[in-house]
Every structure is written in structure tokens, then in C-alpha cells.
């Protein structure tokens, strides 16, 4: 099983390598290998989840001596205290499941790419390898390493295959994310200086003796470092341009999975390892998160470009994740985790739809579209359903997640004025969200058909599959959230225990 | 060869170079006069220094005059020139006439020349000559300074001679001069290598760099002189020394720097009067110095050829003048080499052979195969 776990990043690497030797004219082979690859990853993740649920791992992990499922540990660059330490808990598994589903959909959505098709899929699989490596690493350095690996393919994917100001967007995105890495390096150096190790579990288990005062400044470095990836307010600017310029599949993956790595890192590396630092600094981050939520939503109203609308909506929704974390309560953390998964699906489906619509109308400006329901009913229905999910209608996954977060904002002590105010502001963002979602849906789907000369038909089979998968996931999570919540809760127990220390 | 019998006298440089401890009778007398018999004081030192300077100047001038006379005379004999053999008794007045002529000539400087270098150049060669004269042991107690590294001192100072020619030739601002100067530079630098290799051979053989000790090491009969004592190697080295020193002196057949017929006098084309005579003077003093060094290193210096004869300065003089005779003989009999032939001779012939000879001598000394 540990080997199967590691296969989640080895498999994409191998596929990327073997794709290099496929002649670039054989597009069919490349596509086939890619689909087989992502299906393989999905099968791996599902089998891992089944094994996880079947095994004893499902029981809550002990707070004192945390053990991971399928853990694998081997000395790697051990001279600097680095191990290759992989394993999973419920949280990671959920993220991996989401990532593999989105990856599958992303590959399907990218069916139409023909120019430099080979490079596209190679880079995509490298990106996948990095992402999955991130989700299973429990060594800080390895985690960081996999995180870095994801950045370069992103750059190339956007800069080569993107649209609009793609080179600028790719460069901006990458530099800001590497700026985040600089902060992470600082935090890691501090951690290493104090403990001489990168083992997250070990550091978390006896942080009180070793980390001490370093946590006070290493925490904001780490949190902000990952927060940039999660587009926390002052450093969110890479996200709209990046999402807007990226090709559809990359937008899906970037917003759905990659941004979540930020939140994942905030939780795993920052909050888990340095709870004292977290308690010290959280008011600041709570304010920033709230600004992200409200500001993102307001900006989204002003946008005319579908991708920009969804990009700002993403900032807003990912802000909710940070807000959930910033409450530092069990409920808040759980809500954050749920929102990460939920938003992954939601934003992926929206980007996929935007891609499909753009492929037909050749515009993303909502003023130049209208009445699509008449022409492409399937896509339009999906669009409306996705809109529901963005707003957070009951029955969708967003409802579950956001509700949990709002509850966290108001549960517990009522003396914390800051939290209450921020919570109220965050709730108000739902209204703003409703405004831009309804207006967008209205403008795109309803009304008279705007004819701009392009003849188009409804979604083909290959396009329907990813949309159906993603929407199914959204509603499945919204209707049957039980086991997800359970898994998340279990894996968050050590973090909460650590916070309470 | 047993070098242990000639332990270098471990004197400090101060003692060796301090004129007021130099053991000349005149120096002692001055010290006594100044009421400072042992160490000497500032006054005695100053007087001694002045005496030394006067002595060197006088000696140099005298030598130069003698040599000029000798050269004229010999040249006259070799080439049937009339003047030098008949002016005055033994043609002695010819030198005086030459000197008078030079001093009375107007010294003028070409308009476009560079005064600083033009006037600096004539002063340099004599300075170097005087410095070298100071370390040559004329007799058992006749020397001005006795530095431990006398031979290195000589090679260091000798290397400077070319500077004067370079500077002077440039300062004249004349293309012939410059060409002569450049030739002089190339020639001097090249032949210095072989010359120093000859010195090295003596250093290797005697284990000494001190000239006095080198001379002392050749005491006894004439077969103790290094020219004979090192079978074969010494003689070859002596011949090389003669060749290279002739080249260093820029004398025919190596006088490409002056080369009247090509360069109209080379570096000294633009010099006249007293400035020219300085060059002229230095040339002859250098000739004496070279001969004296050759005599010191190879021919036993002031040592007599046989044990029963008394040692003294006259032997050095005799040997030196013998070598000088060779130099003059060369001048008036050999044709001049072309510059490329000259360079080829050094780099393709003399230098490799000198090196081989040095190795040969090393083997002789290491195996003890010396007389």
C-alpha cells in the first residue's frame, strides 16, 4: 500500500516520460495514454480510499503519537535531515480524490488541443505528479519540493497554451508564487535552525520544546508563503490574470486544485506545526481573509469577462477557506477543508463550462452573449446548475462547506468581536455572490439570442462527460456529505489537539 | 670538490657595505684622523665615501683613457691607421686629443627630443659601472664592498645597462636611435640569459656567490683556476662568457646597436660633446669590468699563476687586459652580424649549449671529477 500511495506521483511522472518518446504527430496515442493515465490515478486513489476506510486507519489517529496511513519513510537527502516521508490521512485522501477527478475532467476538456499537444500533456502530468506528491508528503522539505515542481509546468502551460496576455500572466503568476516560496524557505530555515529536522509529524509532536520563539516569526512566513498560493488578499493579483489567460484545463486545475495546495500548506505546515504562532497571528490573517472574501465578490460584480468573474469568485471563496482556518476551531478547520474540496469541484465545472461556451461563441464577454439556452440547452443547464453551486444553494457542496464555516464564525465565545464582525462580513458576501451569479447566468443563458455569426452546436459527448462527472460530485457532496465530513474531522483531530496545547 | 674550506664569512650586510668598516689603509687613516678608530662616525664615513667616489671616478677615467689609447693603438696596428701610432710618444697624445675634442664640442640637444630622458640616459651607464666596480676584488685587501651575493649583485646591475640605451634612444626622438635602442634591448636581454648561466656554473662549482671567496677558492697554481679545474666545462663556459660579454658590451661583431653603416651610430646618433663622452667612457669602463669579472671568475682573479709568485692587483690587471685585448682584437677583425643571426646564435646555439654545459658541469662536480 505505501508503494501504491507513492504511485500517485510516480505514475504521472512515468506517463510524462513515456509521452516524451511518442512522436508528436500521433495525437490519438497521446490522448489515449493521457486518459489512461488519469484513469489509472483515479483508480489508485479510489482503491486507497477503500483501503483506508476498510483498515483501522479510519479510527481517529492518536494525538500524542500520530500515525499516518500507508506511511513510507526512507532517508533521502539525510545529511540535512531530510527524509522521503509519505503517508496519508483522510484530509489528504479527500484532496487527492478531488484532484484526480478534476484531472480526469481536465484531460477530457483538453481533447481539442492539437498544437503542441504532446508538450501540453507532458507538462500536465508533471503538474499532476507535483500535486499528488504534495498531498502525500509529510516531510516539510519534500512537501515544498513537490510544491515547487508544480510551478514551472504552470508557467509553461499558461505561457504557451494560454490566451490574451498569456506571457505576462504566466510570469506574474510564477513570480508571485515563487515569492511565496521565498517566504516558505525562510520559514523552513527557521524550523530547521530550531529543530534540525523537516519531519512534520515529529516537529508537530514536540514543537513546544524546540520551536519556541522562532514560531512567532516563522509562522507568518510560512502561512503567508502558502497564503500567496491560496491568493490571500494583498497577494491575490496573480490569480485573476493567471486564471483568465490559462487554457481551460489549466484554469480548472489551477483554481480547483493548485490554489488548494496553498490552503493545504497553511493548514499542514503552518497551523499544524506552529500553533503558538497561529494563535498570535491569526487576527491579522482573519482580517485579510475577510477582505479577500468581500473584495473578491465585489470585484466579480464589475467584471464582464466570464473567466475574470470566476477568478474573482474563486478569490472570494478561497478566502472563506482561510477564514475558516483563521477561526482556529475544530469547526472552522473542518469548514475550511470542506470548502477547499467543494470549491475545487465548483470552480472546475465553471471553468470547464466557460471553455465550452468560449469554444462556441468565441467570446467570453457576457455582454456579447445571450439566449444560449435556445442554442445549447445542455451546456446552459449545466451553467445554471453550476451557478447554483457557486451561490451555495442547499443541495450543492458549497452549502455544506460554507454553512460549516459560518457556524464556526459564530460558535464558541461571543467575546471575540473581531471574529464576529468578520463572520458577519463573510456571510454578507453570499448576497454579493448571488448578485453577480444571477446576473451572469441571466445574461448568458436567458434573453434573446445574440448572434455574432458563429454557428455552433450543443456539447459533444467528450465534453458532456467531464461536466456530468463534476456536477455529480457537487451534488453528491451536497446531498451525502457524511463520510467526507467524517474523514476530515478525523484527520483534523491532531491539529486541533495541537492548538489546544 | 671540497667547498667546506671556504666557509662564507658571516658578516652582516651592514658590515660589508658600511664604508667606515671597509679595511683599506686609507680608510683606516681617515678614521684615525677623525678620532674614531673602531666604528667610525658620520664625518669619517662621509669622507670615506667621498674618497671612494673620487677613486672610482679617477680609476674609471684612467681606465677609459688607457683603453681608448690601447684600442686606437691596436686598431692602428691592425688596420694600418696612421694617427694613433704617431701622435706624441707611443701615440699617447691621441687619447688626449680625442678627449679634448669631445669636451670642447658643443653639446646640443635636438629640438624635438625629450629633455628628461635625453639627459638622464648618459648618466645611467656610468652609475651602473661604478656600482659594479665597487664589488670587484682587485687584490687580497683591495676592494670597496664585499657583498655576500656579489655575483647576483653584478648580474642585477648589469641588467640595467640596457635601460640607458633604451631611454636615451627614445629620448633622442630619432628613428635610427630608437631602432638601435630596441636592438640593444633585445640583444642585452637575450644574451644576459647565457651570461647568467655562465655565472651559475661558477656558483655551482665554487658554492659561492661572494666574489672574494670565489677568488680565494682559486688559490694556488693556475690549474686551480676554474677555467682548467673543471675539465672541459670551465673552458667552454669561459668561451661562452667571452662571446656573451662581447654581446653585452655591444661591441663588434655584436655592435648592431650602433652599426654606423646601418643606423648611423644607433642610440648615440643625437648625442655629442660631454653627453656622448659619458656613453663613450661607460663603454670602456664596462669593457674593463667585463674583463675583470671574467678574470675573477675563470682566471683566478688576483691570484698568481704559480704558488711561489706573490698575489696582487697586478695579476688581475694583467688578466683583464689580456681579455680586453681579445675584445679589441675581435672588434677590428670580425665583420658585424645581422640582428637575426645574432638572435639565432643566442637562442639556438648558446643557450642550449650553456644549459647542457651547466648540466655537464653539475655531473662533473657531483662525481668529483675535477682537478
Amino acid at each position: 500500500m505505501p508503494f501504491l500511495l507513492n504511485c500517485t506521483w510516480i505514475l504521472p511522472t512515468l506517463i510524462a516520460l513515456s509521452l516524451m518518446f511518442v512522436p508528436k504527430q500521433k495525437v490519438g496515442v497521446i490522448r489515449g495514454m493521457s486518459v489512461a493515465g488519469v484513469l489509472g490515478i483515479l483508480a489508485l486513489v479510489v482503491s486507497l480510499i477503500i483501503a483506508f476506510l476498510a483498515g483501522d486507519y479510519a479510527s481517529p489517529v492518536g494525538s500524542a503519537e500520530t500515525t499516518l496511513a500507508f506511511s513510507y519513510r526512507t532517508p533521502w537527502f539525510e545529511a540535512i535531515g531530510n527524509q522521503f516521508y509519505t503517508g496519508v490521512d483522510g484530509f489528504s485522501l479527500l484532496m487527492m480524490l478531488m484532484a484526480s477527478i478534476i484531472a480526469l475532467c481536465g484531460v477530457l476538456v483538453s481533447w481539442t488541443i492539437t498544437d503542441r499537444c504532446k508538450e501540453f500533456f507532458i507538462l500536465l502530468f508533471i503538474l499532476l505528479a507535483g500535486t499528488f506528491g504534495c498531498f502525500i508528503s509529510f516531510d516539510l522539505l519534500t512537501f515544498f519540493l513537490f510544491n515547487e515542481i508544480t510551478l514551472i509546468p504552470t508557467y509553461l502551460l499558461i505561457a504557451i497554451f494560454g490566451s490574451g496576455k498569456k506571457e505576462f500572466a504566466a510570469m506574474k503568476l510564477n513570480l508571485m508564487l515563487f515569492g511565496g516560496s521565498a517566504l516558505i524557505i525562510l520559514g523552513m530555515a527557521g524550523t530547521y535552525s530550531a529543530t534540525g529536522s523537516f519531519d512534520m509529524i515529529a516537529i508537530a509532536n514536540n514543537q513546544s520544546e524546540t520551536l519556541g520563539s522562532i514560531a512567532m516569526w516563522a509562522f507568518p512566513a510560512l502561512f503567508m508563503g502558502f497564503g500567496i498560493l491560496g491568493s490571500v488578499f494583498p497577494f491575490h493579483t496573480w490569480s485573476p490574470v493567471g486564471h483568465a489567460s490559462a487554457p481551460t484545463a489549466i484554469s480548472m486545475f489551477l483554481a480547483g486544485v493548485h490554489m488548494k495546495l496553498g490552503g493545504y500548506g497553511c493548514l499542514r505546515a503552518a497551523i499544524y506545526l506552529m500553533p503558538e504562532g497561529a494563535q498570535e497571528w491569526m487576527p491579522l490573517f482573519m482580517v485579510l481573509a475577510t477582505i479577500s472574501v468581500v473584495y473578491g465578490a465585489f470585484i466579480a460584480i464589475r467584471q464582464r469577462d466570464l473567466k475574470y468573474i470566476n477568478a474573482y469568485a474563486s478569490i472570494s471563496h478561497v478566502g472563506l477557506v482561510t477564514f475558516g482556518f483563521a477561526t482556529l476551531t475544530a469547526v472552522g478547520l473542518k469548514g475550511g477543508v470542506l470548502q477547499m474540496i467543494s470549491h475545487g469541484f465548483v470552480t472546475a465545472v465553471v471553468f470547464a463550462l466557460i471553455g465550452c461556451i468560449y469554444g462556441r461563441t468565441h467570446t467570453r464577454n457576457i455582454d456579447e452573449m445571450g439566449g444560449l439556452m435556445k442554442k445549447i440547452p445542455f451546456l446552459s443547464v449545466c451553467f445554471v446548475l453550476a451557478g447554483f453551486a457557486v451561490v451555495g444553494m442547499p443541495g450543492t457542496s458549497s452549502f455544506v462547506a460554507e454553512l460549516t464555516i459560518f457556524i464556526a464564525g459564530f460558535s464558541g465565545s461571543l467575546d471575540d468581536t473581531l471574529r464576529l464582525v468578520c463572520g458577519a462580513l463573510c456571510i454578507s458576501s453570499i448576497v454579493i455572490t448571488a448578485v453577480y451569479v444571477l446576473r451572469t447566468v441571466n445574461s448568458v443563458v436567458h434573453g434573446p439570442l445574440v448572434d455574432n455569426g458563429h454557428e455552433f452546436t450543443d456539447a459533444r459527448f467528450i465534453e458532456k462527460v467531464p461536466l456530468i462527472i463534476l456536477l455529480t460530485c457537487i451534488f453528491a457532496m451536497g446531498l451525502f456529505p457524511g463520510w467526507i465530513i467524517e474523514l476530515a474531522e478525523q484527520s483534523l483531530t491532531p491539529v486541533v489537539t495541537n492548538l489546544g496545547r | 670538490m671540497d667547498t667546506s674550506t671556504h666557509q662564507p664569512v658571516q658578516q652582516s650586510v651592514a658590515e660589508r657595505l658600511d664604508p667606515h668598516t671597509a679595511t683599506t689603509p686609507l680608510g683606516d687613516w681617515v678614521r684615525e684622523l677623525c678620532d674614531a678608530p673602531d666604528g667610525g662616525n658620520l664625518l669619517s664615513m662621509t669622507i670615506n665615501v667621498i674618497i671612494i667616489i673620487i677613486a672610482i671616478c679617477a680609476f674609471s677615467s684612467l681606465t677609459a683613457m688607457v683603453l681608448v689609447w690601447m684600442e686606437r693603438k691596436l686598431a692602428g696596428r691592425f688596420q694600418r691607421r696612421l694617427g694613433p701610432t704617431r701622435t706624441g710618444p707611443f701615440g699617447l697624445l691621441q687619447t688626449a686629443a680625442d678627449g679634448l675634442k669631445l669636451f670642447l664640442k658643443e653639446g646640443f640637444r635636438p629640438n624635438a627630443s625629450d629633455p628628461f630622458t635625453y639627459y638622464l640616459a648618459p648618466l645611467l651607464p656610468l652609475t651602473g659601472a661604478f656600482m659594479v666596480l665597487a664589488v670587484i676584488p682587485f687584490g687580497p685587501s683591495m676592494w670597496i664592498a664585499d657583498p655576500e651575493l656579489g655575483l647576483i649583485f653584478i648580474s642585477a646591475i648589469a641588467g640595467l645597462g640596457v635601460l640607458a640605451l633604451l631611454i636615451g634612444s627614445w629620448g633622442s626622438n630619432n628613428k635610427y636611435s630608437l631602432m638601435g635602442g630596441l636592438r640593444a634591448g633585445a640583444q642585452a636581454i637575450s644574451y644576459e640569459v647565457s651570461l647568467i648561466l655562465c655565472f651559475l656554473l661558477i656558483v655551482l662549482a665554487s658554492g659561492e656567490t661572494n666574489l672574494l671567496n670565489i677568488v680565494e677558492g682559486q688559490q694556488g697554481n693556475f690549474w686551480n683556476w676554474w677555467i682548467i679545474k673543471l675539465p672541459g666545462a670551465g673552458f667552454i663556459a669561459f668561451i661562452f662568457f667571452i662571446i656573451t660579454s662581447t654581446a653585452e658590451l655591444n661591441r663588434t661583431p655584436f655592435d648592431t646597436t650602433e652599426a654606423e653603416s646601418e643606423l648611423t651610430g644607433g642610440f648615440h646618433t643625437e648625442y655629442s660633446g660631454i653627453a656622448f663622452s659619458m656613453f663613450f667612457l661607460a663603454e670602456y669602463v664596462h669593457m674593463f669590468i667585463a674583463a675583470a669579472i671574467g678574470a675573477t671568475l675563470f682566471l683566478g682573479g688576483y691570484n698568481a699563476p704559480f704558488e711561489f709568485l706573490p698575489d696582487g692587483w697586478w695579476w688581475l690587471m694583467a688578466k683583464s687586459y689580456a681579455i680586453i685585448f681579445l675584445y679589441i682584437w675581435f672588434r677590428w677583425t670580425f665583420p658585424r652580424l645581422r640582428i637575426d643571426q645574432l638572435m639565432a646564435l643566442e637562442w639556438k646555439f648558446l643557450l642550449p649549449l650553456s644549459l647542457i654545459n651547466l648540466v655537464f658541469a653539475g655531473i662533473l662536480i657531483a662525481m668529483g671529477w675535477i682537478l
Partner: protein
């Protein structure tokens, strides 16, 4: 006196130099070509292997020459750089290259001989046990390079050589001046004695320390002693440039470490401040310079200034500094050579400007990929070797007792800036479409099979160094003892 096994490498290197020189002058043209070129690089590779095989467990001394275990990785670096530099000279030797820069190397055999001599000098530096040997080693390492820089015999090359000579002599003068002060302060030239006698309260010694550091700073092209680098990188023949950029820096760093952990060991904390200053200045100036470059070699020069800044940062740290620098250099040298190999392939028919690299990914995917990997390794992107190399430099500056966290933050931000210009290169080769003017000057690129093989080996090496810890732990074992 029995020879220590580790000394065999030095002797082998000297013998190799002799063999090359003799075969250059004695053999016929065909045999000469084979022996001089293939003999040189194979010999250097074998010596590299020998270096690894004879790596001593503890310090081995022969007289005044001390072979320290930690220098073994550096020696390996020198061998690798030497061999690669020889391989890189292939075009220039055989006459297939550099049509836009007239002429070939003046004499291939001498060129290779000089490379080996220089490598020998670097070996001597690592074995030095007194200031004299140290200085002589450094000079032997650099003086052949002055000559080599002029080997292309055009105006650029001569200019580069002259500049290098003058700046190099100046730096030597600084070093010698400093050494004389150290001798005055410490009353010895031996490292062991100096380590005892040079104490921080001997202010006199500081003049020496500063001047010696300045002298070595010139060799390293660390700011503010960097101004020679761009011209010389641009003018010298590519193999020489690559060699200067890699090996010569490695030698300077080995010498620096030798001094810092040898005679200067009691000067500790104040030295850290000096290195911090140099690191900050180097990174900043190097980065600012690299941002504005249009020509590849000049760009590499400026980026190397920045890279040296990162390395100097590690010297502010504790005992992690030596192995981390050694590992970094290994990676840096390989990364550098990949870049220069690629540019050499390009430069055989066009000037090395960025605009001429546009569309490379379409013309030659292999070269483009290699250059991409090289750039990312230099920038420190995983899973390439450059990542761990650079990361450890950061860690070294954060060791307990040497916590320079502000320096680390500053350096990390600088690393991001450096990433920008490395990505600009990537952008040019992968994304920017060549304009018509660019295209018209770009004939097809011909790569020799041997060059292709070398490139692939190097690229694999740099990836393996990043994921396979064997070399890493080997270096740490050696440096730890």
C-alpha cells in the same frame, strides 16, 4: 617518504599535462588530434574517478601538502569542468565552428594543455598548507586562462584577454599585499601557525584579511569586484568562458573556505559580517545586471555574480557551509556547462543573443530542453540538482549560532528575481515566436552526435543529482570528517 594515495591524482594530472604537450609537439597530425583531444578528456575523467576512488578518510599530508577530505568534491568539480571544457572545444579544434567569429583556436594542443595546467593549479590550491603554495596554486589556476582567453585571436578575444590579465594581476597584487600583512601579523605563512596567531584583536591582521578577500573576490567575480566578468565572458572563446565561469570560481571558493576555516578561524563573527555584506551586494548587483542583458554570455556573467552571492551567504553559516557549497558547485558547474554547450552549438552559426534563440524549441527540441533544464537548475527549481544546492546554502546561513534570517529572506527574494531572468531565457526559446529578421540569420542547427551524447549525459546527471542522494551524502560524509 611514501606517497599518500590521494596524491596520485595530482601526479596523474601533471603527467597528463606532459603527455598532451609532448604529443602535441612530437606526433603526426592524425595521431595528435586523437591523443590530444580524446586523451585529454578521457584522462581528466579518469583522474576524476581516481579522485573519488582515492578519497582519503582523514587528512593526508606529504610534507607541506595536505589533502583534506572535504576538498575531494572540489577536486572532482575541477576534473569535471576540465573534461567538459575540453569537450566543449571540439568545434573550435576541428574547425567546424564559429563562422561568425573568425578563426579557430590558435593551437588546440596548447589550449588543452593550458586547461590541464589550470586544473593542476586548482588542485594545488586545495592542497595548500601555507600562503605561498596557496598563492602559487591560484596563479597557476588563472594565468593559463589569460592566455586561453586570447586564443580565438580576434579583437574580442584579445580585448578579453587583456582585461582579464590586468584585472587578474590587480587581484593578485591585492592578494599578495594582504598575504604580506598576514605574515606580518601572524609571523608565519603556515596555516596551522596562523590559525593560532591570527586573532580578532590583532587589528593589523585585518588589513591582510580584507585584501586577501578582495583578491579572491576578484577571482570569484563577487561584487564589488565583478566588473570584469561580462566583457571577458563575452570575448573569450566559449570553452574558456565556461571554464572561467565554473572551475575558476570553484577554485576560488575552495581557497576561500581553506582560509576561512584555516588561518582565519579565530576571526569568526566579524568575517561573517563581511561575507554577509559581500553576499548581499553580489546578489543584488548580479541580479540587476542580469536583468538588462541582451547577449547570452554577458547574461551568464551577471547571473554568476548573483550565484556567487548565494554561495557567500552560506559562508556566514556554520559547518554546513563546506558540504553545501561543494554540492552546489557540482550542480552549478554541470548546469553552467549545459548552457554553454547549447550556446556553443548555436553560436557556431549566429551571435549569442537572446533574440537569436527565439524559436529554438521548434528548431531543436533537444537543445531547447537542455537549456531549459540548465536555466531551471541554475534558478534552483526541483527536482533538478540546483534546488538542493541552493536550498542548502539557505540552510547553512540558518544554522544554530549563525542565524541570519534577514539575509535568508533577502536572498530568497533575490532568488525569485533571478528566476525572472532565467525564465526570460525560457520564454525566448519556448514561447516568443521568432520574427522574420531573427529567422533569416538562423540556418539549421547541426549538432555533432558526441555533443548530443554529452548534453544528454549532463542533463541526466543534473536530474540524478537532484533526486538521488548518493553524491550528496558522499560529499557530506567527506566534509563531515
Amino acid at each position: 617518504m611514501t606517497l599518500p594515495t590521494a596524491l596520485w591524482t595530482d601526479i596523474a594530472l601533471g603527467s597528463l599535462a606532459c603527455i598532451i604537450l609532448l604529443s602535441e609537439s612530437l606526433l603526426g597530425p592524425r595521431l595528435r588530434k586523437a591523443i590530444v583531444f580524446h586523451g585529454a578528456w578521457i584522462g581528466l575523467v579518469l583522474i576524476g574517478i581516481l579522485t573519488v576512488c582515492t578519497a582519503p578518510e582523514s587528512e593526508q599530508a606529504i610534507g607541506n601538502y595536505l589533502i583534506r577530505p572535504w576538498t575531494i568534491p572540489f577536486r572532482l568539480c575541477f576534473c569535471i569542468a576540465g573534461a567538459l571544457s575540453v569537450l566543449l572545444s571540439r568545434n573550435l579544434l576541428s574547425g567546424t565552428g564559429h563562422t561568425h567569429r573568425r578563426g579557430l583556436l590558435v593551437s588546440g594542443g596548447v589550449h588543452i594543455f593550458l586547461i590541464i595546467c589550470s586544473t593542476l593549479g586548482m588542485f594545488v590550491v586545495t592542497g595548500a598548507q601555507d600562503l605561498i603554495t596557496f598563492l602559487v596554486g591560484i596563479e597557476l589556476a588563472t594565468i593559463p586562462l589569460y592566455v586561453q582567453a586570447a586564443m580565438l585571436r580576434d579583437d574580442f578575444s584579445s580585448e578579453a584577454s587583456a582585461k582579464y590579465l590586468i584585472i587578474g594581476s590587480l587581484s593578485t597584487a591585492f592578494t599578495v599585499f594582504g598575504i604580506s600583512y598576514l605574515y606580518g601579523a601572524g609571523n608565519s605563512v603556515h596555516f596551522d601557525t596562523l590559525a593560532q596567531t591570527l586573532t580578532a584583536d590583532k587589528h593589523f591582521a585585518w588589513v591582510g584579511v580584507i585584501f586577501v578577500l578582495a583578491g579572491i573576490g576578484f577571482k570569484l567575480s563577487a561584487a564589488p569586484f565583478h566588473m570584469w566578468a561580462p566583457d571577458i565572458y563575452d570575448g573569450a572563446p566559449p570553452p574558456v568562458t565556461a571554464y572561467i565561469a565554473s572551475s575558476s570560481k570553484a577554485a576560488g571558493l575552495a581557497g576561500l573556505i581553506l582560509l576561512v576555516y584555516g588561518p582565519f578561524q579565530q576571526l569568526g563573527a566579524d568575517l561573517e559580517n563581511i561575507f554577509m555584506f559581500l553576499a548581499i551586494i553580489s546578489m543584488t548587483i548580479g541580479n540587476l545586471g542580469a536583468l538588462r542583458q541582451k547577449r547570452f554570455n554577458r547574461f551568464m556573467a551577471w547571473s554568476s555574480v548573483a550565484q556567487i552571492g548565494f554561495v557567500l551567504m552560506a559562508l556566514t553559516g556554520g559547518d554546513l557551509a563546506i558540504p553545501s557549497i561543494a554540492f552546489y558547485l557540482l550542480v552549478y558547474i554541470i548546469g553552467n556547462f549545459i548552457a554553454f554547450f547549447v550556446v556553443n552549438c548555436l553560436a557556431s552559426n549566429r551571435p549569442e543573443t537572446f533574440s537569436n534563440m527565439r524559436g529554438l524549441s521548434k528548431q531543436s527540441p533537444l537543445l531547447a530542453l537542455c537549456l531549459l533544464i540548465s536555466m531551471f537548475s541554475l534558478a534552483g527549481i526541483p527536482p533538478l540538482g540546483g534546488f538542493f544546492g541552493k536550498f542548502e546554502l539557505f540552510l547553512a546561513a540558518a544554522q544554530p549560532g549563525h542565524e541570519h534570517f534577514y539575509l535568508i529572506l533577502f536572498a530568497a527574494i533575490n532568488a525569485v528575481v533571478s528566476l525572472y531572468y532565467y525564465m526570460i531565457v525560457v520564454k525566448d526559446i519556448y514561447i516568443t515566436e521568432p520574427t522574420h529578421a531573427d529567422n533569416s540569420t538562423c540556418p539549421a542547427i547541426a549538432i555533432l552526435p558526441s555533443q548530443r551524447l554529452t548534453l544528454v549525459v549532463l542533463v541526466i546527471a543534473i536530474i540524478v543529482l537532484g533526486v538521488w542522494p548518493a553524491a550528496h551524502s558522499w560529499i557530506f560524509t567527506l566534509a563531515g570528517s
